[in-house]
Structure formats: C-alpha cells, structure tokens
Symmetry: C2
Subunit: 407 residues, 2 copies
C-alpha cells in the first residue's frame, strides 16, 4: 500500500442509520473509525420512524435517548382499525407496563431527526466522516480489508462494515441475490397539525388495515406534525409496468375505506413514490474482513417498523462482540476481528431472518379480505391490551442476550 | 273434490328427516297427518350425523332422546386439528358444563338410525305414511291446500308442509332459485372398529382442517363403527366438468396431509360422491296453505353439521306455533293456520338464514391456506375449551324462545 492510502481500524461504508450506528458503536469501544458516504452531504429522506423499545434501549445505552425524546413523541397507544369500517381491532398501551417490561419507551421520531442525532454523536465521538466516496468492492489481503472506490482510491482497514443499504453493492461479495419487490408502494407525508386537524387520535399510532392497502398515522416533532404513510398493492406491478403504483392507483386503492382514511390521503407528498422491497434472509454476512450490517445484510418490509431498529440492534451487537476481544484493556487485538465478526453474524442472522420473515407474514395479514379478514379481525379482537405474547420476541431484551449467545 | 280425494288436516310432502319430524310434531298436537314420500320405501342414505344440543333438545321434548342414546354415541370432545401438521387447534369438551349449559347432550348417530327412530315414532303416533307418491304442485283453493301428484291424484289438506329437500319441487311456489354448488365434494364411509383401528381419538369428533379440504372422523353405533367424511374442492368443477370430484381428485386433494389423514381415506365408500350444495336464504316460505320446512326452505352447507338439526328445530317451532292457535282445547281451528304458519316462518327464517350464511363462512375458514391459515390457527388456538362465545347463538335455547317471538 502506498503512503497515501488512508488506513484505519474500521471503515464503515454507508452513512445511513445503520452506518452511523455501527460507527458510533465501534468508536465507543475505542476504535479509530472512518465512515464514507456516497452522497455529497449526510442526510435522510423520508418521514416518520417508529422506534420500538428494542431500538430505544440502544439509544439509551449510548446516552442518546434524551435527545430523541426532546424532539420525538411518545405515543400513548398503538391502535389497529379496520379501514373498511373504522372498527377498532386491538390496541396496545405503550406507557406504563409496556415501557417497564421492555426497559425503554416507544418513540416516534422524524427520520431526519434520528439521523442527525446519530450523525452529531459520531462527529462528537471523533468518527472521521467523508462524503462523495463510492466504494465498489472490498477484498481482504493479509488480514486487512481493502476497499476500492469508484474514483480509484483505496481505503485500508482492519475491518470494513458494509452498511450500504437495500441496494448494497458490497453484498455481492456474499450473494448474487437482488431486492424482491413486494408489489406494494408507499406514499408518505408530514403536514402541520393545526386547529383544523381532526382532534381524534393525535396521541396514538393508528394503523388502518384494508384489503390490499393500509394507512398509518402518528404525530411527530412534539405533536406539531402529523405523519401519514399509505401503502397499497399496485395493480400495474402485476402487469409488469416499470413505473407502477402511480397516484391514480393510490386513490383507487382506498376507494372502499372510511372517510377518515380517504381524507388522510390529502396529507401525502405524492411527488415521491416508494416501492417496497426486501430480500430473502441470508446466513452469511462475511467475506474475509468485510461484514454487512443493517439493510445491506437483512433488508425487510416495513410492517414491523423494524428496519432502523434492527440496524441499531446490529450496532449494539457489534459493540458487544468486539468489546474485550478486539478492543481490550491491553489495546487493540486486530487478530480477534475474525472471531468477533463471526460472533456478530451468528448472533444476529437468526433473529433478523425471523424479523424479515415475520414482517412479510404480518404485512400479508394486514391486507387480507374475505374470510381471512373475518379471521384476522376475530383474532385481533380476541387479544387484550397488555397481552405481550406477540411482542416479547421482538421488543424483549435480546441485544443484551447476545452476550449469552456468545459465551 | 271427489269423494275419493284423500282429505286430511295436514299433508306432509317428503319422508326425510324434516318431513318425519314435522309430521310427528303436528301429530303430537293432535293433528290428523298424512305423509307422502316419492320413494317406494322409507329410508336414509348416508353415514353419520352430528346432533348438537339444539337438536337433541327436540328429541328430548318428544321422548325420543333415550332411543337415540341407546344406539348413538356421546363423543367426549369436538377437536379441530391442522391436517398438514396434526397440530391441535382447539377443542370443546362436550359433557359436563357444555351439556348443562345447553340442556341436552351432543350425540353422533347413524343417519339411518335417527331416521328409523323418527319413522317408528310417526307410525306409533298414528301418522298415515304413504310411499310412491310424487307431489308436483300445491294450490290453495278456499283456504285448503290441494296437492297434485305425478299420477294425477289429488290430496287435500288444511295445510301442506313442503319437506321435499334440497331439490324441492314445491319451493318453486315461492322462488325460482336453484341449488348453489360449493365446488366441494364429499365421500363418506363407515367401517367396523377393530383391534387394528388406531386407538387414538375413538371417543371424539375429530375435524382435520386442510387447504381446500377437510376430514371428519367419529365413532357410531356404540363405538362399533368408525365414521369418516372427506370433503374437498374439486378442480374439475372450476373447469366446468359435470362429473366433477372423482376419486383421482379425492386422493390428490389430501396429498400434503399427515399420514393419519391419508390413511383415513381408505375408510371411504368411493362408489357414491356427494357434491355439496346449498341455496341463498329466502324470507318467505309460504304460498297460500303451503309452507316449506327443512332443506326445502333453507338448505345449508354441512360445516356446522346443522342440516338435520335445523329441520328438528323447524318441527319444534311448528309444534309451538300451532299449539293453542290451530289446535286448541276446543278442537281444531283451521282458520288459524294462516297466522300459525306465518308465525312459524317469521320465527325461523332469520335464524336459518344466519345458519346458512355462517356455515358458508365457517367452511371457508376450514379450507384456507397461506396467511389466512396462520390467522385461523392463531385464532383457534387462542380459544379456550369451555369458551362458549361461538356456540351460544347456535346451541342455545332458541326453539324455546320462539314462543317469546310470537307473543
């Protein structure tokens, strides 16, 4: 390697939620971390994000939960309703017993706000942040990761974290798969809450379930903004059209829904359409000294609202698996990286695969019609507020359990 | 009318379960009853029949329950299992609290046994039973029903009960509808229980639920016979073939089921295939002095096992609506028939329509696959033995409630 090759202990590829969280986690262990991002500036597109306790526990660990709570909202309930009738199907109270059980609050926050909190934490912690860098490939030579950029530069590091998202370039090192379209499209929007905003539900996360469609609403920014997400199955996707899921299909998809749902479509920004993708779970995220995390490793449909949450869990697990092995009281033991990232991979792949698969089935159950809708509604209505049987596996203290998995 | 016209107070057309029950009920009120049957002999084809408490209560009223129990079986449980995994989904204990709550036992009995019990009761009560009579039409002249037979005979009665089943000829007087094919076909069979019969489950009604198919098993004749019913969706029905649902389709339909289910197909008599039909509910069962009952009025799919049960409920309701109005302490008041059959119709049409509709949805829920199966299984498993919320409307004391409806 030439003298001009940037050398670092950890190179993180991707400055989204996963990359920032991974960088911060390893920096917290004392690593020298460089994060490269392809865009000319750091930032997040999109609207609101639901941070369940399994994710807010990670923020708490890093001392960032207070910042999130300053700008975010703690919704009072998570409520499911039938979009055709408005009937309430089930609800979960999110404070009190729920928060105690899971050790952290349920928080909804604008994606850009959470991203900024993580970015500022990285800056303050001394992560080296570099924009305008596109990493095309990573090879491992003599126990070090060598990242080749589109401009012909080379970065060298003990380990390279591939956090380059759903359309990950680096994932090609472990599998030749591609994103799987769900045939569903989302539109999102945030509008100011005014005196004319219908007063009902402004303290809750409300999910309206309809045949082949659903709509989610919740408040953001201390209750100043109303966040709306509409997700529907695109008929033109099945016809093989590339630009599927246009505004005409959006309006048609909600035609049979109650007026409150139809009115909420007015709150959407129709300029950006978000086709919904995931990928099949994969077991191996490692190629030499490259390891994937976040959406690059386990992109998932949004029905469990766990995309960013699982990225935060990944980061916490990476922090755990490297502390005391790579990063010891006696300094850095770079030879331990192979075992540490393997531990991380083993600890995380089963869980994230379960979240990926469950998100698909869970989403399917939202969009059913006919007798399946009858069954779904009876099942949901049979559940009592405070029945945690469907929540424990997801929100329970799993990242803490990683240490047990490893020992 | 000529002197040779048989004249009677009540003419029942059809000697199946409904007709016999109706004849017996009215005879119990003191009516002179003639029952005509198209077949040269009385009898029942088919295998087992489930008599839920709403029906066994009627037998109890007529003093026939003991006879049914002498030859029938009181199953210990009603058990639902997934046909693909064998997993138990839910169970209802049928003795104890269940029997107390509904005031009569759950009994399974061979169709021919129940038919014979009703036939003998009619004979002993003095119902005039006539074979080889096909009634083509009924007209009402001067407040009397005039039944015209295929051979040109005429029967005259104060009221004619049309109990001529699913393919009812007399129903044409009130509607021009036809049977609706469900695209499902049943095969049935009874085999002796031997030492080699798998010992499990011989005391229960077991229903295995599979995608587009199900299988029911229970003991008959004091546990000497094993009754099996296999019901599956016929692919060739959708292709428009007339003789749909052959044995090849039977075998293919259960290909993915557990060995216990596949083995049970050996117990079926494959010589008779039973396409499953119902009809849309209708409100009016009356034309002049003709009134329909049983399958002629409300044919239903078999999923709630209520075809014969609702016929027995009809008979009890007819008994109630005519006692004290047509049949009084001062003799027969034939003018009251119009009101009495109208009361009967009003009291029964809503309930039987609900049973017809629920049977369709209930059956659909048995045959689902994919996410609907996941939801169905979770819903069923969430139910506890002894939770009567889905049973009360059906098995509760409804025929007794008829008197209230009327007053």
């Amino acid at each position: 390697m030439s003298d001009r090759t940037p050398s670092t202990e950890v190179l993180v590829v991707g400055g989204g939620m996963a990359g920032l969280a991974g960088a911060l986690a390893l920096r917290s262990n004392g690593a020298e971390v460089t994060l490269v991002e392809r865009a000319p500036e750091f930032g997040e597109v999109g609207a609101g994000l639901q941070m369940a306790p399994n994710a807010s526990r990670v923020l708490k660990r890093w001392g960032l939960l207070e910042k999130a709570l300053e700008i975010g909202v703690r919704p009072k309930h998570l409520v499911f309703r039938d979009a055709l009738t408005g009937e309430e199907l089930t609800r979960q109270t999110l404070g009190g017993e729920f928060e105690e059980r899971y050790g952290a609050p349920y928080v909804v926050i604008h994606r850009s706000d959470l991203h900024r909190i993580l970015l500022e934490a990285c800056q303050q912690a001394g992560v080296r942040l570099v924009n305008d860098v596109v990493v095309d490939s990573v090879e491992t030579v003599n126990g070090r990761g060598i990242a080749h950029t589109a401009r012909g530069e080379v970065y060298e590091a003990d380990v390279v974290i591939g956090a380059d998202g759903l359309k990950s370039t680096l994932r090609a090192a472990v599998t030749q798969d591609g994103p799987v379209s769900s045939s569903y499209v989302a539109y999102r929007g945030t509008v100011p809450i005014t005196d004319e905003t219908p007063a009902a539900d402004l303290e809750d996360v409300i999910v309206y379930l309809g045949p082949d469609c659903h709509l989610v609403q919740y408040p953001l920014r201390k209750g100043e903004l109303l966040n709306t997400v509409a997700v529907f199955k695109s008929p033109s996707f099945d016809r093989g059209e590339e630009q599927y899921g246009g505004v005409d299909e959006l309006e048609a998809a909600y035609r049979d829904c109650i007026p409150a749902v139809q009115a909420a479509l007015q709150n959407l920004a129709t300029g950006i359409r978000w086709p919904m993708y995931d990928r099949e779970p994969i077991e191996n995220w490692i190629d030499g000294r490259l390891v994937l995390m976040g959406d690059a490793a386990h992109p998932m449909l949004q029905y469990l609202a766990q995309g960013a949450c699982q990225a935060l869990e990944d980061a916490a697990a990476l922090q755990d698996s490297t502390l005391g092995s790579v990063f010891t009281d006696d300094g850095v033991n770079a030879r331990a990286w192979d075992l540490a990232i393997s531990d991380f991979n083993v600890a995380r792949a089963g869980r994230t695969a379960r979240v990926q698969r469950t998100a698909r089935v869970w989403g399917e159950s939202w969009h059913v019609s006919g007798v399946a809708r009858v069954l779904r509604n009876l099942l949901f209505k049979s559940r009592k507020d405070g029945d945690f049987q469907y929540n424990d596996w997801l929100y329970g203290q799993t990242s803490e359990a990683l240490v047990e998995t490893r020992s």
